[in-house]
Each structure stands twice: as C-alpha cells, then as structure tokens.
C-alpha cells in the first residue's frame, strides 16, 4: 500500500506522502528504462550535485529522473539555498551559470540571453503573473519555504505556453505532512530583517503545510545626501497554506493558497532647471494565488489531474507631488484564471503519453490603459500532447506540441522534439528543438500613456492607437503621422525556435561535466516605433512585430566531489547576441559610428557590433562547499559577470563603443554555519566581500552586506 505506484505517480510537487526512500527507489526503477548503477554512486542527499537521481517535473510535466531527461534541466535544492544564505529567489538564481539578474523594474532574470519577459516563472507548476515592463520581479518571492527550484533552459518546455521561450523556472514549495516546525530570523545590514515560520503536519488522510514570511529593509543610498534613496524602505510579507487530502486510494484532492504583499516607500525627487520637485508616497503590490486540484488514478497506467488556478496581482502607486502638479495615482489590477486537465498514460513501460487541455481567462484594469472601470479581457483555449518513447535502452525520443487559440491576437502552435542517446554509463548526449511563444501583453495592446515630463511623448497600444490618433488629429494636436502609422496591424505573438545540444559526462570519481550548446532564433519581436508627431514635436509610439534577434552560446558546468566534505563547482557561459536586422544593415554598410576620441565617423563592421544590450558575452562562477559530519559548513562563491552593453552614446542606437559598456565585475559571497543539538542552526555570511559597487548600472547592489541567521527546529 505504501509503495502503491499510484501514490508516487502524483505530481511530485504536491506529493502528500512522506518521502520513503525505498519506495521512491522502486518507483524510479519502474519508470526508468536504464540501469541506474552508473549513477548510484552519487549521494542523493548531497547538496553538491543536483543529483541525477532527483525527480524533476518541469521538463516533461510528468515526474522524471533528471539523469534520464532529454532536455537540459538543472536543479537547486533547499540545502544549497540555505547554505548560500539566499532569502529571495533572485539571490540564489544569481549564482547559477548562465543566469543573469537584471536591474530594471525589479529583479528580472536573463536566460540564454533572453530577457525576463521570455522566461516563465512557475510556483508549484502554476505561472506567476504581475509583470512590470515585462519583468517579473523575483525579489517578490521568498525561498524560505522552497524545497527545490527546477530550471529548464530553452523553449523545449514549450508545453507551458506563453513566455516559455528562454526557459521555465519552477519553484517547488515544501512538502506537506512532514511533522516539522521551524522558525528562522535573520538580521542584516541596512536594517534588514527576515522572519519565517514553516509548519508541516499530517492528520490521518490530510496533510497540511503553513508558511509565513516577513521581510523588511530600511533601504540604502548609493549617492550620499540624495533626497531619493537608491532603494527605498520596504516591507514584504508572504503567507502560504497547502492542503492535501487522500480521499481514497485513487482519489486525491488538495489546494494551495498564497498571499503576498509588498510595500515600498516612495520619495521621488525630480530636478528641473534647478528646481527640485519632491513627491512622497508609496507603492503597494498584492498578489494572491489559489490552486485547487483533483486527481484520479484510474489504474496503474492512467492518471488524470484536474487543476484550477486563480491568481491576482494588484499594484498601486500613490504620490503627493509637492507642487502645483497635484497627486499621482497609478493602479493596475490583473486577474488570471485557468482550468486545466492533464492525463498521463503509460501504455507500455517504455512510453508515456501526456494529453492536456485548458482554458485561461485573463483580465486587466488600469488607469495606465483607460479608466479603472474599463476592464480588458482575453480568453485562451489550449491543448497539448506529448509522447515519450524509449526506442532502445540507449535511445529515447520525446515529441510534443501545444496549440493556443484566442481572441485578441493570432493563434500559435508550439512543437518540440527531443532525443537522448546514452553511449555508456558515463557519456550521454541529448538534442532538442522547440518553438515557444510570448503573447502580446495588455500593455502592447491597450496602453494609453502620455509622459508630460520627458519630451512629452506618448505610447498607445495597437488596439487603441488608431482611435487615439484620430481623436488627436480631430483636436488639431498632430503635426503628422508617419509611414509606420499605416502599418499598424493586429499583433502576432513573438516566437522563437530553440536548438539545444548537450553532453553529460559522469566519472565514477564523482566528476560531473555538463556541456550545453544553444541557439535561439527570435522573430516577430515586438518593438515600439513612431506612428505620429505631435505639434509640440513630442513623438507618439505604438507596437509592431518588427524585430528579429539571435542568441547563441555555450554553457559548461563542472563539479567535483574532492572529499567527503568538500565539493568544488565551476561554470561558464559564452553568449553571442544580435539583432538580425542590424547585422544585415551592417553588412550592407548602412550603419555608422562616431569615434569617442576624435569624433570622426566611420562605417561599422560586424566586429564593432556589441550585440543586444544588457547581455554579457562572458559570465561564470566558482563555488566551494564544505560540510563536515559535525554539522559545520562553509561556502565561498565567486560570481563573475563580464562587461555588458548599456546605452548608446554615439547616436546610432547600437552598442559599439567601449564607453557604451558597463564594467564587468567579480562578486565574492561567503557563509558559514553550525548546527547545535539538532535543533538550532546558526549562520553568518557576507555577500559581496570585495564591496563592488556601480551606482549607475547596478543600483540594486548595495555593496558589502553582512548578516546573521538563526533557525530553530521545534
């Protein structure tokens, strides 16, 4: 009964049984087609290697052993997050090879050179919403109650739908039903306090997990004597409840609930010709998630899950301007609801068929678009299919596709295909191709924004642009419309085709080498262009499917268990990015640059082109983890990010000159901790030991930060 396969077949995210290793082991064998002996030398509990025996769910939407996946996937386990002293999601992701945390509209993620808007972030398999400028702020998410993070790179996980282009990050919360309670408190520089309580319990057939987190900081100023702090004082809170009930051997139901709040003080100083206008106020974001599900295990071969998901994101900003300008109010309310059915079939032990379909309703109301009373809606219907088949003991193939249809923009088909070939127990090759998409967002469809301060420009979404232009034209406010105005049309989703080729090598001597070569071709990328000029010469922008871009590179990760206590890891990513139309124009000799030293203009060559902004050609890390059996640990993590293009200085709109790059940096983070009598964990750490700062390009980096962390297990 305990080892009934039905119990293990559940989505592992929400597995309501306590981890029983022997049971897990048999389960793993039952769905794996290859002898695991070659991997069994890896300690499953090791924090060091996200071990190949770990079960991951994100890659194929079904529980899979990492070592057997034909898709590049990496895993960060709770112990790594704890020992690295990470509190928020961005903290731990910043230390992973090939992931770069960006610093615009909060902390965004860049993956395989694709920016935050092309990366899907899932919490227990459900997408998080509430993006600003396309960026999902990762610092919203506490990782105090996170069991593991699964990362899939490239669009091979296109079964997740919109935004799964650069990749998918799935945050898996703590297991329910574990009979444990822990509380932790942290104090760090800048009056930073973080407190968390996690409770996990089992009552007969019901498992429960409760987590609460509170995080605050007094903020900091990188520029001395500035009225406006670089990071304003803030507090954040998160509360989560997970419930699972085994109704019978075959039926299981449960729900997750989460409520997140963040509050940021605002004190904004605008300087205008020597006059300083100070505005005071606050920003408040509230987010809630509700995730009920019902699961039915038909027999050993068929499992079906019905999942509901409702999430909302409400943002507001209120500023009282100390001048004649009055007060400023910004409100943005987003609602996302989804109902999805997924069925997994195991017709033979060598194949898995996954079928699913769902419906999404999304709505947004904001005074950025219209008035708050006008609600913009979209409805998406989708279905997906995936078949995984082990052709031989060495060769596995996964094929799948997803189709999304909706009202507001063009429909899209996202296919994918992956292969894995195991040469022997040490060497393993995989290749995958997938197409992903990103739907035009509400901003691109409905934005109605006029900035009176900076050049009096305006931006209109494609669905409202024509009406607004007509209104302005009738009111004699326009100088003229441009050629682009006549090109305004219904936006298409942005799409990308991604190719990944990977080699995994495992030496019995606990050496792991992972190489992944990738290429992403993005098309129909949405950019703004000028559709009209106002009489005061202010420009009016709208959105177009114009840009084509390319990101390609290679990522290598090496880890070696040097002794029972010491593990060393190194990672490096080489990245090449380009706007394809710029490349064409450069080849045609139509692009120019101005020398910073003598102001002379010359034709740009391909070698002069620095690629897409905010992308570092080189990045990497070197990490040491030490842990002895007495419960003492110490870590040292060096994170390197090479220079990256930031802004155009010579008027050609491109990154080409040396002064258009931000300097690369090296950050050293260290931590050490000890466990006292099984109950108390004490940790101290210093992030950014070298105190590296870059006021202009890294406002989110306060310099050296020390902290003390105490955890108590009841």
């Amino acid at each position: 009964m305990i080892c009934d396969i039905s119990m293990m077949m559940v989505n592992v995210d929400r597995s309501n049984i306590a981890p029983d290793f022997s049971c897990m082991w048999r389960f793993l064998l039952s769905i794996s087609f290859f002898p695991l002996a070659g991997f069994s030398q890896t300690n499953t509990d090791s924090i060091f290697n996200a071990s190949l025996n770990e079960v991951v769910v994100t890659a194929t939407r079904t529980p899979r052993i990492m070592g057997n996946l034909a898709i590049p996937v990496s895993l960060i386990v709770n112990k790594t997050m704890y020992q690295s002293g990470s509190l928020r999601l961005n903290d731990i992701l910043a230390e992973q090879t090939g992931l770069v945390i960006t610093d615009n509209f909060g902390r965004g993620i860049q993956m395989q050179g694709l920016s935050s808007e092309y990366t899907l972030v899932l919490l227990d398999g459900e997408p998080l919403i509430g993006r600003t400028g396309g960026v999902l702020d990762l610092s919203r998410i506490t990782i105090r109650n996170i069991r593991k993070i699964e990362i899939i790179k490239g669009p091979s996980s296109s079964l997740y739908g919109s935004e799964a282009m650069g990749g998918v990050i799935n945050i898996v919360t703590d297991r329910a039903g574990q009979h444990k309670t822990d509380a932790s408190i942290r104090y760090g520089r800048f009056g930073s306090i973080d407190g968390a309580i996690n409770v996990s319990r089992r009552f007969k057939n019901t498992d429960i997990q409760i987590a609460s987190n509170y995080n605050r900081s007094e903020g900091y100023s990188l520029k001395p004597f500035a009225i406006q702090k670089t990071v304003e004082p803030f507090w954040k809170s998160a509360h989560q409840l997970n419930l699972h009930n085994r109704i019978s051997d075959r039926w299981k139901a449960g729900t997750g609930m989460r409520f997140n709040t963040s509050h940021i003080d605002n004190s904004i100083a605008v300087h205008n010709l020597g006059n300083t206008i100070v505005s005071k106020g606050f920003e408040k974001n509230q987010e809630y998630n509700f995730t009920p599900y019902l699961q039915y295990q038909v027999d050993k071969k068929i499992k079906s899950v019905l999942r509901g998901y409702i999430t909302g994101f409400d943002a507001m900003q209120q500023l009282d301007v100390k001048d004649a300008y009055g007060s400023y109010n910004d409100k943005f309310n987003q609602l996302f609801a989804r109902l999805e059915q997924q069925t997994d079939f195991h017709p033979t032990q060598h194949s898995t068929l996954t079928l699913g379909a769902g419906i999404i309703k999304e709505q947004v109301s904001s005074n950025r678009y219209d008035s708050l009373s006008t609600t913009r809606q979209n409805q998406i219907i989708y279905s997906f299919v995936q078949h995984e088949h082990a052709i031989s003991e060495r060769f596995t193939i996964i094929g799948g596709a997803r189709f999304d249809a909706n009202k507001a923009y063009a429909s899209v088909l996202s296919p994918k295909l992956s292969f894995q070939f195991k040469l022997n127990q040490r060497l393993n090759f995989n290749a995958s191709y997938g197409r992903g998409f990103k739907a035009p967002d509400f901003r691109q469809l409905y934005l109605n924004f006029t900035n009176l301060a900076a050049g009096a420009y305006a931006v209109f979404g494609t669905e409202v642009a024509a009406t607004e232009i007509k209104r302005m034209s009738d009111a004699q406010l326009l100088e003229q419309t441009t050629d682009m105005f006549s090109n305004l049309s219904i936006l298409k989703p942005e799409t990308s085709g991604g190719l990944n080729f990977g080699i995994k090598y495992v030496h019995p001597n606990n050496l792991h080498v992972n190489l992944n070569i990738f290429r992403n071709d993005l098309s129909n990328m949405i950019v703004t262009d000028v559709i009209a000029f106002k009489k005061n010469r202010g420009q009016i922008y709208s959105y177009f499917n114009l840009k084509r871009a390319l990101t390609q590179g290679a990522e290598i990760n090496v880890s070696q268990q040097i002794s029972n206590t010491l593990n060393i890891q190194a990672g490096y990513q080489y990245l090449f990015t380009a706007d394809k139309d710029v490349t064409v124009a450069i080849k045609r000799g139509q692009v120019f640059q101005r020398s910073a030293s003598n102001n002379l203009v010359s034709r740009m060559g391909l070698n002069d082109y620095g690629g897409l902004p905010f992308r570092s050609k080189h990045s990497g890390n070197l990490k040491l983890f030490y842990e002895n059996p007495k419960g003492f640990f110490a870590t040292s993590r060096i994170i390197y990010r090479g220079r990256w293009g930031t802004m155009d200085m010579d008027g050609n709109g491109l990154i080409n000159r040396n002064d258009e790059f931000a300097r690369g940096y090296v950050k050293l983070n260290v931590s050490a901790g000890i466990q006292i009598r099984q109950r108390i964990k004490l940790m101290a750490g210093v992030d950014n030991v070298f105190n590296y700062k870059d006021i202009i390009h890294l406002p989110g980096n306060p310099g050296r930060v020390g902290y003390l962390d105490l955890q108590f297990n009841f």
């Binding site: 100088e479 009489k535 692009v591 203009v601 202009i696």
Partner: protein, 215 residues
Amino acid sequence: MKKSIFFAFVLMSSLLFVACEKEDNPTANNSTLTSNVVKDLVADTIVGLSNGQPVGVGKYTFYSLENNTVVPSTDSNSNKWDIAFRGTSILTNAGTSGPGAGGAFVYTGTYDELKTVSPDSVFKKDSAPSSYAIPSGSNRGWYVYDPVNNLITPIPGRVLVIKTAKGNYAKVEIINYYKGGTTPAPSASDEIKLKTQRFYTFRFAHQANGTASFQ
C-alpha cells in the same frame, strides 16, 4: 505635398543646369572649396521653463556658410544667411524660411565619402510648419533624443547637404550639440544637461564655384 515635389523638380533641373554650366570650368575647384569647423554656435540657449518645458527666447541664429560668419537676425529676410539654428531645428534659406535659392537634404554616409552631390539629388525647401528640408524630431533628421537620459546626440553617418542662398553647395556635419563639444555624461544632472545644450559644433565644406564637387 505635390507642390513641394514640383518645387523639388524645378529646383533639381535648375541645379543640373547650374552644375553643368560650371563644370566647364573645373580648374577653379581647388581654390574655391573652403573647409571650416564652427564651435559652440549658440542656438537659442535655454532661459527658463514654460509649462514644464524648457524654452529659449525663440530666436534663430543665422549663419553664412559663404562667409563663415554669424549673420544678424535683422538680416533674416535676405540672402546673407544660408543656415539657421534654434534648438534642434535647422532652417535653410528658401521656401517659408527665407528669400534665398537654398534647400537641403540629409545624406546617409560619411562626410569624407561625400565628394560630389549626385545629380539626381532632391533638395527640399522649408515649408513651415509641417515640413522642413532638414526634418526636426528624433531619428528623423540629424539627431536622436534619448528620453531616459535627456540627451541629444547627432546620428553618425548623416551629412546635411545644403544649397546656400546664392545656390552654391555645401556639406555640413553636426558633431555635437553641447557646450565645448562634449555631451554631458548620462548621469549628469538635468540642470547641467539643459544649461549646456543648444551649442552647435559642426564642420562644413563650401564650394563657391557653383559646382557639385567637394574635392
């Protein structure tokens, strides 16, 4: 619109005529080409704010490429000036801007490459307020405006091909828009950015013999 195309045609044919006529006398070229750099030409510098927008006194600075000198604004209704600057707006002496036989277009390429004005070039005339020979606005003519950092930068590879009031040819490359020929750092205060802007640094070559050659 049709009118301006018509004008352009008339203009072009007359240019061709002039060009052909002068080419009969090619020896004069070397001595009649002058090259100059003009620094910190004031173009209606900002004096204050109006409705939140920075404003100057609203006057153009008139310049003679023929004589390489500033022309008093009292002579604005004459053939003494060839090009005029006010903020990012540039006028040429023709159409609605003046009585001259001027005109201009924006050439894409480097200043040095532009050795001769192609005979099929179309010189536009100013037609206020809707259209100017050198279009105003970011990324339309000679500059881009960065709304994030509040900076104006000349687009590299843009050369203003000017017909002077007298009908001679000149080429102008705008090098910088800020005092001392140095654009403030993006992180500089708005005050510095506003106080140092509207100072043109440009170089030009002027062909006095009426031919289309800059060699």
